[in-house]
Structure formats: C-alpha cells, structure tokens
C-alpha cells in the first residue's frame, strides 16, 4: 500500500514538474498541451523495464546509442566507427583491426542509418546494421552482446549515405554512394565529371546462419547522387528503391546547380534479377582494395583482411532490371509502406509528397510506357506510375514511416513538424510541431511488414532554447509522440549523443531473452588467455614482455612484477575469471599511452605499455567491483635497460601458482 502511495506521489510530483515547466519555459506555448497524463505515459518506475529498445545513431559521433522507450533513458553507447576510451574500443589490441580500412586505421566516422535484421519482412532482432558515411563502411552489431562484430569497407563509393537497409529476409544489406566518383578512381580533371563519374550501389550478402557479410556485387550507376533507399517488401520483395538527386551531374555549387531539373529519379532495381545474373557468372571481376574486419567472440579478437576484387555490373548488361521513376525535385527519403505497394518519394524542394504504385510500375514496364532513357536506363512515364500525392503537406519533406494501421507519418524539416496522413486517400489527418528542424523519424518496425505503431520518435537537428545552455554547442534531441489516437500527442523530449540521425526500434521482448550475461571461460580461445591463476605468468621475448594476468574480485594475479626494463614493450593480456553477471573489471597502468581496459566476465583483453622511466609503478582496477575494489592493485618494477634484475612475479609473496 505504502509503495503504491509513494509512486502515486512520485507521479504527481513529476506531473507537477512537467506542467510547471510547460508553463514557464515555453516560448510558443506549445507545451501547454502537455498534460499530466503525458508524464504518466513515459514514466517507467525505478526497477521496471521499458517496452521498446531504440537504437539511435550518433551521427558525427560515429556510434550507436541504445535507449529505452517510452522513458528515453540511455542504456549504452555502442562504439562502432569511432574509438571509445571507456570501452577500450580501438585502443586495445583486440579491437584495433575493427577500424582498419584501405586508407589505414581510421578512428572516426559519421554513422547514419541503423536497420534491424528481418525475417519474412518482420524484425527478427538478430543484428542491427549501420553505415559509416565518410570512409564508406557497413557495420554489423550483434544483438546478443550489443557489440560491433563486423565492419566491411565499400570500395568505389563515397559519402555512403543511401545505406544500410536490409531486404526482407536480410539476404542483403544495401549501401549506395552519395557522391559519384571516377570509376575506376584516377587522377582526372573534376570538370570532366559528366559520364566519367559513377555511382556504385553495393549489395552485401548476409549469411543466414552467422551473419557473415560479403560484398556480392556493385551496380555501376550513372553519376548522380544516391541519397536514400529502402527495400521492396511483400509484393515488391526482390526490388530495391533509391532516391537520386543531382541528375544534372553538377560538380560545383550543387545547392543551385543540382536543383535545376523539375524531376529527379527514384531508381527501381530488380536485385533478384541482377543476383541471378551474377550467380550465373555475370558481371566483371574488377581489381580494388577494401578492408573486411571481423570480431571473433570466441577469441575475443578482431582480424582485418584486405580484399582485392569486386564484381561490378554495368546496368546495360542486364536489360529489364533497372528503371527510373521520375520524382519531383531532389527527392530525399525513399520509403516503402508495409504492404510493399507504395513507394514514397519526398522531394526536398517539392510542394507535395509523391507516392508511386508498385503495381502500376510493373504495368508501365510491361506496356513500355517510357519517357526516354538516361544512360540506357528507361525512364517510366510519371503519370503512369503515380498512385497519388499528398498536397501541400508542409515544407521540406524528408522521411516517412508507417504505423501498420494505414497511416503514414512524414517529417518536414523546414516547417519543423510531423504530419500524419492516410495511405490511399492521401489526406492529411494531423500535424504536430517538433523542436526544431526534424530529420528522420522512427516507429519501431516502421519500415517493415509489421510496424509496432504505438510511438513515433522524431529526431531533431536543432534544439536552441529547449534545454539548459551549454555554451555554443547545445545538445541535439529526440521527441516521443504517442500515435495510438487519431491525433498525435507529444510526450517527451530527451537529449541524445551526437546527431541522432536515424533510429531503429523493436519490442524489448524480442531482444531481452537473448542478451548475453557472461562469456564462458571454457569457450575463451584468446591466444593469451589464462583460465586459472595457476596459469598466470610473465614471459620475456627479447624486448617484448607478455604478462598473462588474471583478475577476480578483488585482486590481480600476479600483482607484483619485477624484471621489466625501460625500452621494453610490455603486453598486459588480462583475463577476467569472473563467471557472474555484471562483474566487469578494469585495468589501467600509469603512463600507458592508451585507454583503460574494461573486461567482461570470461573475456581477455590486451593493452601495451612502454615504460620510459625507472621506478616502481602501480596499476589498478578501474571499475568499482566490490567492497574491496580499492584494494585491487599491483606494482611493476622497472629497471634500467640491460639491468640484471630477473623476471619474477608473485601474489601474496608467493609464486602465483603455489597451491
């Protein structure tokens, strides 16, 4: 009874806070609409779990953040394309290969479009994929460990933006180039862009068993900009749709010169047809260089392989596989409704939203209703494929998601709003402001056959006055709306890491039962793992010293090491012997030019220390692990180069393996 009373009180207090903020803080008075019930809808009591996971990309942070919905609480930032000192990602010896590319080690990227794997068009919760824009890459995150386990670089590509969307059974994760570039890459005058630059659309196959990625083929499209894409589903499964802009093929002042044509295109690609062509030996094996990085969960170690060949397909080789759908004014978002019938193009500069019909598209192809061609690719007649248009919906349409109830939700960047409209009748049902300049929006499963149409999350580019100021750089944010009623209801604002570019969401129950708790020591095949204190040792090999160390609450073995010399390269290979949930340990060494290690139960990680000064130097556990955490420490004695102090290592004054 008491607890009920207490939580009631808490809710009341919270609601009061919410309401009073609304009255005080708002410039537009828009928050006045926030009622106490909004607070209740996002309130997840202490110890309770959220209903949905949201994987929100970090944009220019290069990472992927995991939030709970409806609370907006941040659970984890998964390092993907950028180094993360907290988790030693890109710092320890095991994960450095993950960030290798054909340009060498790259510590950062710009992460954009997460997409959860699907089976039969529905979210299956096995992996989430995300693209790195700048040095084109696709990453795969394993949703049992919430760790990045594979990164594949995309050759012949630049500004990898129309990526990383999966087909209905995760046959492929698809990556399209934003910038067209010379193909093959070469030293040439930029003004000779037209005709010489190509836009690569890459199809990366995903092994249905273990998720292994493989760059199966690249389609070398005309030198447009390929902006976004989505797969067909249901009846349109087997096709993929890409928006294009700069069909003018301008190479300077694009903001003017790429906005000349009345219509650009959505490229419709029959990938099944091209796959068949390639499977039968079609395409050209072209020389190239790209890195393929795989993290092995058993060895706890990543390896990077440079690949030197890719199959490229010229569209003219596979007639009948690619068509252009004219779409007004530099279309950005390219979204396919749950039935697979409607392909929505959001012309950034257009006055209306365009919906193409897949059925009509097939009929137009059949009846050869063409309006000329571009580089040999037939352009379908606009009127023949149009299903309808949403008139005067707002300014600057960007992206659309679906609730599975016949409604679509589109963001408008310039007019800062989310607009709800009806598929088929194209009428606008509701509009709600966002604060401010919304980009993508996300409904869990909202780009699959089965959306979970309870909430929509809008992700904003600008927040201005919405939060306490933090100097010139202010937080970016996401906003949660309840979409269960006829009208949308704004429930919550919450700050995000980096730029919340896009997100993927799914019911928590899809992932919760599979979430890994520990790594089994028996299964640890790390080259330098030690599975009991008795095996701990220190081995000198020239000026390299390998310390095979263990950690458990709350000591290291060994914890006293002598015989190290200035100029040595000292590898700490540290195994966490714990086999219990939520007992990581950390380790850091004074003066090591790297990050700490944060080691999960049963895992082994390595850092390198090159001592530069004689002395006795301590190391310690960085993760508060038990009541005796402050006791978890050790010493390394560093002698001058050439010293005769022998290697010894002890625990409690004894050799480590003493019974």
């Amino acid at each position: 009874m008491k607890t009920i009373l207490k939580s009631l009180l808490a809710i009341t207090v919270l609601s009061v806070v919410f309401t009073s903020c609304g009255n005080g803080g708002s410039k537009k008075g828009a928050q006045g609409a926030l009622s106490g019930s909004a607070a209740e809808k996002v309130y997840v009591a202490p110890g309770e779990h959220d209903e949905f996971y949201a994987f929100v990309s970090g944009g220019f942070s290069g990472q992927l953040a995991v939030y709970g919905l409806p609370s907006g609480r941040l659970f984890k930032v998964i390092p993907v394309f950028s180094v993360d000192a907290e988790k030693a990602y890109g710092f320890n010896e095991e994960t450095k290969p993950m960030l290798n590319t054909s340009h060498g080690f790259i510590p950062w990227d710009d992460s954009h479009h997460p997409d959860i794997s699907q089976t039969a068009g529905e979210l299956d919760g096995r992996w989430v994929f995300i693209n790195g824009n700048n040095t084109p890459r696709i990453a795969k995150i394993d949703l049992t460990t919430f760790e990045t386990t594979e990164i594949i670089e995309i050759p012949n590509s630049a500004g990898n933006h129309s990526s990383s969307f999966v087909t209905e059974n995760t046959e492929y994760v698809v990556a399209g180039t934003r910038f067209s570039v010379p193909y093959p890459q070469r030293d040439m005058p930029i003004e000779e862009y037209k005709g010489n630059f190509k836009g690569a659309l890459s199809f990366i196959s995903v092994d249905p068993e273990d998720g292994a990625m493989d760059l199966k083929f690249q389609i070398m499209m005309p030198g447009f900009n390929y902006d976004l894409s989505h797969p067909g589903r249901g009846k349109s499964h087997g096709w993929f749709f890409f928006t294009t802009y700069n069909t003018e093929e301008a190479n300077s002042l694009l903001e003017v010169n790429a906005s000349q044509n009345d219509k650009d295109f959505i490229a419709a690609i029959n990938w099944k047809k091209i796959e068949e062509y390639v499977n039968n030996g079609g395409g050209t094996k072209a020389p190239t260089r790209y890195a393929h990085n795989v993290y092995n969960e058993t060895t706890h170690t990543a390896t990077s392989t440079i690949k030197e060949e890719v199959v490229v397909v010229d569209p003219s080789e596979v007639p009948g596989a690619i068509y252009f759908l004219p779409t007004p004014k530099s279309p950005h978002g390219c979204d396919v409704d749950p039935s697979g019938e409607y392909i929505i193009g959001s012309g950034k500069l257009a006055a209306e939203l365009t919906a193409h019909s897949f059925t009509k598209m097939l009929a137009a192809i059949e009846g050869e209703k063409f309006d000329g061609e571009a580089y040999g690719i037939p352009i379908l007649k606009y009127d023949e494929i149009l299903a309808g248009a949403v008139k005067q919906p707002g300014l600057g349409p960007l992206h659309t998601e679906f609730d599975g109830q016949g409604n679509a939700y589109t963001t408008f960047f310039i007019s800062s709003e989310v607009v709800k409209w009806k598929l088929g009748t194209w009428e606008v049902v509701d509009r709600k402001p966002t604060y401010y300049s919304v980009g993508h929006l996300m409904i869990p499963g909202g780009n699959s056959r089965k959306p979970f149409g309870k909430y929509v999350l809008a992700m904003n580019k600008i927040t201005k006055d919405r939060y306490l100021p933090t100097g010139p750089e202010v937080t970016q944010s996401a906003q949660l709306y309840d979409i269960t009623g006829e009208k949308m209801e704004l429930l919550l604002d919450f700050p995000t890491i980096g730029e919340p570019h896009y997100a993927a969401g799914c019911p928590a129950d899809l992932l919760k039962p599979n979430s890994k708790k520990i790594f089994k020591l028996e299964e640890n095949e790390h080259e330098y793992a030690v599975k009991s204190e008795a095996e701990a040792k220190v081995v000198r090999d020239g000026n390299e010293v390998h310390i095979y160390m263990t950690m458990i609450r709350s000591h290291f073995a060994p914890d006293n090491i002598e015989g190290i010399q200035v100029g040595d390269k000292v590898y700490f290979h540290v195994t966490n012997l714990e086999q219990d949930y939520d007992v990581p340990h950390g380790i850091s060494m004074i003066g090591a030019n790297t990050s700490e290690l944060l080691i999960m139960p049963g895992q082994t990680e390595t850092f390198v220390w090159e001592p530069k000064q004689v002395g006795v130097w301590p190391f310690y556990c960085t993760d508060f692990c038990s009541a005796l955490h402050q006791e978890m420490q050790g010493y390394v004695r560093v002698s001058p180069k050439g010293s005769s102090v022998p290697i010894t290592y002890t625990l409690d004054g004894d050799a480590v393996d003493a019974e």
């Binding site: 020591l521 009991s532 204190e533 012997l577 714990e578 086999q579 219990d580 038990s626 009541a627």
Partner: protein, 154 residues
C-alpha cells in the same frame, strides 16, 4: 573499532539493497537485527537456501573427486586455498563443518545465501568481498563437493 562496525553495517545494507534481478521487496530492515544474530542453528543441520534440498552421500568416488578438483582449480582457486585463508575461507575439512546441501547452495546461489542464510551472512561480514557466483551447473557443484570430501583438515 566503531568505524569498522559501521562499515560492516553499511556494506550489509548496500549488499542487501542491490539484491539480484531487481527484486522489489522492501529492504530497509537490516542493521537492527544484526545484534540478535547469535547463530543458533546447528551448522550440521542447516541446508542453506537454494536449489539443493537433499544430497545422498555414499562412499567417496575418486573419479568424481578428481574432476571436482579440476573444476575447483579453474573456477575457485583464485579466491580459495584449501589450507589457508585467502580471499575466502580455507576449505580443508569443510564437509565436517557444513552440510553437503549448504555447500552446494553456497556455490550455486551465493547472492541469496549471503543475504539471508545466517551462517553465510556472518561469513560475508567477516570477509567483505562476496563469494562469487561462478555460474556452475549442479553437476559441477556436486563434483566439487566430492573433491571437498577428500580434503580433511590437518
């Protein structure tokens, strides 16, 4: 001295307040009970709390004991030496001090044991570092028990 007692009480309170799996029970009671806790239970009757309710012992099975020793050195020896106190108590002769069920429950269910079982609670108060759950199977715990039966106190 007083400080130490305070620390113990605090730790007990901390540990009990972060019991596993986010159970929602009200856990404010602990410190007061502390004094009354003269362990009246006969340790050789206490079966502890956990999945093991009854173990029937027959003659020592040396093959099992050998396997148990291997599991013990992999999963337990970082904290326990048989003959001397280390991070945890010395374990030689443990089967003469505790029932087989209690030992196996301590291995399989240490969080609840140190939170609720009077003997285990007292041990935690003395050792401060918690007995680790090493996620063993019942079978592995049983092998270790067999190994323990072969190591008598000197």
């Amino acid at each position: 001295m007083k400080l130490k007692v305070l620390v113990v009480a605090l730790v007990v309170a901390m540990v009990s307040s972060c019991g596993s799996d986010g159970k929602k029970s009200d856990k404010k009671a602990a410190p007061k009970e502390e004094k009354k806790e003269v362990v009246e239970v006969d340790p050789m009757k206490d079966k502890g709390i956990g999945p093991i309710t009854s173990v029937t012992l027959t003659e020592i099975d040396q093959a099992m004991a050998d396997k148990g020793k291997a599991v013990f050195s992999a999963k337990c020896s970082a904290c326990h030496k048989m003959s001397k106190r280390f991070v945890g108590p010395a374990l030689a002769g443990i089967t003469e001090r505790r029932t087989p069920e209690w030992i196996m429950n301590m291995i399989l269910n240490p969080e609840e044991m140190v939170e609720k079982n009077p003997i285990a609670k007292k041990l935690l108060a003395e050792y401060l570092s918690p007995m680790a759950n090493q996620s063993l199977t019942e079978e592995e715990a049983r092998l270790i028990l067999e190994y323990f039966r072969t190591v008598k106190e000197k």
